[in-house]
Symmetry: C2
Subunit: 323 residues, 2 copies
């Protein structure tokens, strides 16, 4: 279903007929003179209180808007909203960005990217989190905790190397207890179809042989990092509040998929949501909380560097980039 | 006036008393365990039609809100707006980002960053455009054209190396004719004060010995790149429309300083504006045009990677990040 082309960013102009497209590099060049071919870099680091936060770009996927990308809205309406949000050509682009939190005492990875194994599928469009981690000077062997928000392949795909060996050999891999129970249940797998069916097979392959520690909601799962239940996208889906001193931020995980569609229209249900109605409820709850507390929000599928503020905007919300 | 500390991004929460601050790295660390100290990377590349666009991070400056940062609004009101835009502690942060356009036939630099010479002043907070250019694989010797938007030091400071030698030895340096006339006029210099006084001295030092080509508005100053008069910030200030095939975008240069203040409040006059009233008029004209044509807008002082869409929002505008 997903075409593994590069993401494209809209630059359509009313004054011209064809849609203009901004496309990151890596594919065919058509230059008379020498192309530079510089790749966008993928490390964004800052401090939250005393903590180091390092956002890692894993890549992005661009594909034609699927018929049921928004489960409870027509494809035409979804394309119309995408066009209004400057996404061209009836396409949709989903970026992926896991992150590292260095609490000083513990080095914590939150999610892992698509990896280069079972879930990669593409040829270089995703799976760059590991090389960006290398470039940031972070040895996966030094990671103490890998905190998994939920079991979709783009979040757990980096738990193993391409050869199937553990990518974080010295880390405690912490997984939502509800999530582990859901994806580990053969009865759930046997009745799964569509998106979930493929995920079940991938989850089994990725988690096989890995020792994991289940965790519950409202627990301090790592120093200063508290798990927040945000079900709907998956049954055990978790967000996190990261706090250091008086500073805190909300790592929303997949409370919304791309903000251009689902933050502006929080009641739209993404095709990836296991329970679309519950996911919509969760969106309102989480964003109302983040807006009230003026917490910066980190989105796994937000445009890199993935951090902004969420504000109420009519019936929906909008993403305000930092400064 | 400008404190040369790192920029800080707001994470203040209503639920906590002290303002929370996100601060990029490079300064003192207070970690028990080993700090990673990863620096944010500073290359963002994409294609516009057949053109390669490469945005280069030069760094950022953070300083307490000056008394007259907004010339026609009180400091209290400016701080209030900054706080509403999640900028903490009565401070303001200005990022800087020059760019490269590879048309295939010509390699064009638009502005140069603060450089490491006359205008740098700081110790590493700015002047990173050159190292990011190196990292992107761009040899300054291969740059054919340097297109200067206006003569402020943060735009022309990279024209020379720290030792005073030309940084782009093989490039034609194109400068707005009106700008060259203004800054080259001793009568203007003798009556300058405040911000302009310092700039005059710096401009003289930086431009000395450099061969430049003056250009006018509404000219194709490089293949597919058209100069657009946008005076007010300086008398000869220029923006550019970059077009390749049916794709185009607006390089606004300094039509607005930081969007959090001056895009939201287009009639607010920045202390750096030579003619504040004219700059405000220009803002409305340029943004109404960009919004009508749905052109992506590149801002030299926008948050990296500096590209977004500008939309009308009440009496002002808002910056919509890409997808």
């Amino acid at each position: 279903m997903i075409q593994l082309t590069r993401r494209s960013l809209f630059a359509g102009a009313a004054a011209v007929t064809a849609a203009a497209t901004l496309t990151p590099f890596g594919i065919r060049q058509t230059f008379a003179a020498a192309p530079i071919g510089a790749k966008s870099t993928g490390i964004f680091s800052y401090k939250l209180g005393d903590y180091e936060i390092i956002q890692l770009r894993d890549g992005a996927r661009t594909f034609p808007m699927p018929d049921t990308f928004v489960a409870n809205v027509s494809k035409d309406k979804a394309i119309e909203a995408a066009t209004a949000a400057y996404i061209p050509n009836g396409q949709v682009t989903i970026p992926f960005s896991p992150m590292i939190v260095n609490t000083g005492g513990k080095l914590v990875a939150i999610d892992t990217g698509n990896g280069l194994g079972a879930f990669a599928g593409s040829k270089g469009a995703v799976g760059q989190a590991r090389s960006n981690m290398d470039a940031a000077g972070i040895d996966p062997k030094s990671v103490d905790i890998v905190l998994i928000s939920h079991f979709h392949g783009d979040h757990i795909g980096g738990l193993k190397n391409a050869d199937g060996s553990p990518a974080f050999p010295n880390a405690e891999i912490m997984v939502p207890a509800v999530e582990a129970a859901f994806w580990g249940d053969d009865a759930n797998q046997s009745k799964a179809n569509g998106f979930n069916k493929g995920q079940f097979a991938g989850v089994k392959k990725m988690m096989e042989g890995l020792k994991v520690t289940p965790y519950d909601a409202n627990k301090e799962v790592a120093p200063g990092i508290t798990s927040i239940a945000s079900p709907g996208h998956t049954p055990g889906h978790m967000s996190f509040v990261v706090a250091s001193g008086s500073s805190k931020m909300l790592v929303q995980s997949d409370v919304t998929n791309i903000p251009a569609l689902f933050l502006r229209n929080p009641d739209w249900q993404a095709m990836f949501d296991n329970d679309g109605a519950q996911a919509a409820q969760t969106r309102h709850k989480i964003y109302d909380m983040a807006a009230a507390e003026k917490m910066p929000v980190i989105g796994y599928h937000f445009p890199f560097p993935c951090v902004g503020h969420v504000e109420k905007d009519g019936a929906g919300y909008r993403l305000v980039p930092l400064v």
